[in-house]
């Protein structure tokens, strides 16, 4: 039971990170209707920028951890958001009204570019950082000596996710930008006729998605203590799986999917085999889609005849 509780905690933390990335996929899909294959790499870039900012701050002699984290968060969000904006501008905007497969291939190309860009710029080797946030709480000490722990970093990851999710839900539901985004999602032509700046709204969608991915990248760095140029691919596929599992286009669905994928992976590794954790996640995705072709919270597609 204790073991299970511990795995549950670990799974939820991992799931929060997936969820943050998945929101970026689902937002872009909702508005532009394309899979942004480069999004996983945006997450990776976010992790790298967080790492570099952290190193610089430390070498300047800054010691207050909360201040460092805040600066790292802001810098990483800002620069990564610019990456998101640039990718949309270069690779997707020219293909806005094109055939469906062209932007997808362009996105795959962009993903190759970003992966290899950071490989060339920062080297192929894994970049480890010493634990930045240490300590935690012992929740329960079992009879067998097994200790259920909740580390500070886990708390930070979950709290950050919840806060961002609340902020983001508010943004989509109650701001001008959110309204524009929802309008573009329904009907871009009509939205532009009613004075919504479609280009700007789409750009902002990419910017917000990238900023959230940057947070996820930073959390990943803090939690696992390393980044490497290839981590975007695997995390990207997982997050995309999460977005689809939850029902692509649905924001709560993305978060739910993220948590589920995180839990499945962690529990499978804990009870069955680590090697097959991804196989388990993908298989569950396929099984869910057989019964719910539009995911858990996706709108069922009504066939118009």
């Amino acid at each position: 039971m204790d073991y299970f509780a511990q795995q549950l905690i670990n799974g939820l933390v991992l799931g929060s990170i997936y969820g943050l990335i998945a929101i970026g996929y689902t937002m872009v899909y909702g508005i532009v209707g394309m899979i942004n294959f480069a999004h996983g790499d945006i997450f990776m870039i976010g992790g790298f920028i967080a790492l570099i900012t952290f190193l610089i701050l430390v070498s300047f002699g800054l010691t207050a951890i909360p201040l460092i984290l805040l600066i790292v968060l802001l810098v990483s969000m800002a620069i990564t958001a610019l990456y998101g904006w640039t990718v949309e501008r270069i690779a997707y905007r020219p293909l806005r009204h094109s055939f469906r497969l062209a932007p997808m291939l362009s996105a795959i190309g962009m993903s190759f570019v970003l992966t290899n860009y950071s490989q060339v710029a920062q080297g192929a080797r894994v970049k480890p950082v010493p634990p930045i946030i240490t300590g935690g709480y012992t929740l329960h000490e079992g009879a067998g000596g097994f200790v259920v722990q909740l580390s500070n970093i886990q708390i930070i990851v979950v709290i950050t996710t919840v806060v961002l999710l609340a902020l983001f839900t508010w943004l989509v539901s109650s701001t001008r930008l959110g309204r524009d985004m929802r309008a573009c999602e329904q009907d871009q032509t009509m939205a532009s006729l009613l004075g919504v700046d479609v280009d700007r709204t789409i750009s902002m969608t990419f910017v917000i998605g990238a900023a959230l991915a940057a947070v996820a990248g930073m959390m990943y760095l803090l939690y696992y203590g390393l980044v490497d140029f290839f981590m975007g691919f695997v995390a990207g596929i997982k997050a995309f799986t999460a977005a689809v599992l939850g029902g692509i286009g649905s924001l709560p669905g993305a978060m739910l999917g993220g948590l589920l994928i995180g839990l499945i992976e962690t529990l499978w590794s804990a009870y069955f085999s680590v090697e097959y954790k991804d196989v388990a996640a993908f298989s569950i995705l396929i099984v869910v889609l057989i019964f719910l072709p539009t995911g858990l919270l996706g709108r069922p597609e009504v066939e118009k005849v």
Binding site: Y29, I49, I56, L105, S111, F112, V120, P128, L285, I286
Partner: protein, 433 residues
């Protein structure tokens, strides 16, 4: 030629300046600072402001050039008047491309007999041509998106490798078996995705490809795990080995043995397999099943109203595409003599899909040209070393922006009464998958 409406120098300069500024922010940390783990495991960094300045300057200059080019070219979508002679010459050339290319391919081993590198490259290109033609059945004709095509390539390769190394079956027995097994997996993938559309289909096929790769990687007792399968037998010319021994082909023909014989044999083998794929696809397009695939791509609801069983239509498309992938996989295994899961990553699927889309969905010639351009181009960049994938990715983005509908932008009808006229790809649907 500059018209009065064209933006002036100030505009170009301003635009370039903004681009440079964006580049400065983007590259500031990623290029301006380099991190590396030291020998003690401690992470250190150093600055590279020179490189950063160079990159920003390049973006500034590049932006000016792009803007100038854009003005010279005129607004996007400008229709350029092409003289009639040029048009007719082009259409004649267009009709000649396929036969000329085919004859040239047949002659490659003769012309480049002593250039092992070119022969190897030719084999590689032809393998991708075959893969492209195979995937074209699924994506180009039936309009079903498949991001996990490499799975069937892997199934074919491992089928041959395992059957040959464990049971000593010959290549010619394993080849059809590999095709059948891959087709079987194609149907297996087909079933869960029958009801799925668009991006749901994309992720499930992608997941399927990853599942196959992960199982190959982790099922050590059967597949050898990350070490793969080695010592896969080389193909024989219908039982006669291409070896230096007394029972080898060279000895039987009474000619001197040369290792090139095997390369040439492999070249013609993959050429034959690719042409078989092409022939079957062209035949199928003119049969009711092929027309049903294309009709499915155009409008699934209308298909159902016409009494077409969309389930079997989709499954046959998946199975046919998978079978060709499996055959190509068996060839890959026998050519390499060694296979491991590393050869069957998502990158391969993406590459084959890019070949199909760049070729112009559904066009056989387009796919062949795209395979030649992509694989050949990729080889040209071999000297770029670590920048190779970077350039490759950029090329993919640029090619898509340049020709979103692919090199061959029209569809050839499968039957005609009077005139065999191509259909503009603007009318051709992409399918929902």
């Amino acid at each position: 030629m500059q018209t009065s409406r064209a933006p002036g120098v100030a505009f170009i300069f301003k635009k370039a300046l903004i681009s440079a500024l964006v580049a400065l922010v983007l590259f500031s940390l990623m290029i301006g600072v380099r991190t590396e783990a030291g020998s003690d495991g401690q992470l250190t960094y150093w600055t590279r402001f020179g490189d950063l300045a160079m990159m920003v300057a390049t973006v500034f200059g590049g932006s000016i050039i792009v803007e100038l080019l854009r003005q010279w070219w005129g607004p996007v979508g400008t229709v350029r008047v092409v003289p009639a002679q040029v048009t007719s010459a082009l259409s004649l050339a267009g009709r000649l491309v396929a036969p000329v290319l085919l004859i040239f391919t047949f002659l490659v081993p003769v012309i480049f007999y002593n250039e092992r590198y070119i022969l190897d490259l030719g084999i590689l290109v032809l393998t991708y041509v075959m893969l492209g033609w195979g995937l074209n059945v699924v994506v180009g004709l039936a309009g079903l998106l498949d991001l996990g095509y490499v799975a069937f390539y892997a199934v074919g390769a491992y089928s041959y490798a395992l059957l040959a190394t464990n049971f000593g079956l010959s290549f010619w027995i394993c080849l059809p078996l590999a095709g059948i097994l891959a087709a079987f997996w194609g149907v297996l993938l087909g079933f869960p995705v029958l009801r799925l559309r668009g991006d749901y289909l994309a992720i499930v096929t992608l997941a399927f490809g990853e599942i196959i790769r992960l199982v190959l990687l982790n099922w050590q007792s059967v597949t050898g795990g990350p070490n793969g399968v080695s010592g896969i037998p080389r193909p024989t010319m219908f039982g006669i080995p291409l070896s230096p021994g007394d029972d080898g082909l060279a000895a039987k023909l009474g000619i001197e043995f040369s290792p090139t014989h095997r390369i040439v044999f492999l070249f013609y083998l993959i050429l034959a397999l690719a042409l078989l794929t092409n022939w079957v696809t062209i035949r199928l397009r003119r049969l009711p099943i092929g027309r049903a695939w294309e009709a499915l791509r155009e409008d699934e609801v209308a298909c159902r109203a016409l009494g077409i069983n969309t389930t079997t239509t989709k499954l046959t498309a998946f199975a046919t595409g998978a079978m060709f992938g499996g055959l190509a996989g068996a060839f890959f295994a026998t050519r390499q003599g060694f296979i491991s899961p590393e050869s069957f990553t998502f990158h391969e699927s993406a590459l084959v899909l890019a070949i199909v889309v760049l070729g112009g969905m559904g066009s056989q010639l387009g796919v062949a040209l795209a395979a030649l351009a992509m694989i050949g181009g990729f080889e040209l960049f071999r000297g770029l070393d670590q920048y190779r994938m970077l350039v490759f990715g950029m090329a993919m983005v640029l090619l898509m922006i340049w020709r979103p509908r692919g090199l061959i932008g029209h569809r050839a009808p499968t039957v005609f009464l009077e005139r065999n006229q191509a259909i503009s790809s603007d009318l051709v649907k992409e399918g929902h998958g």
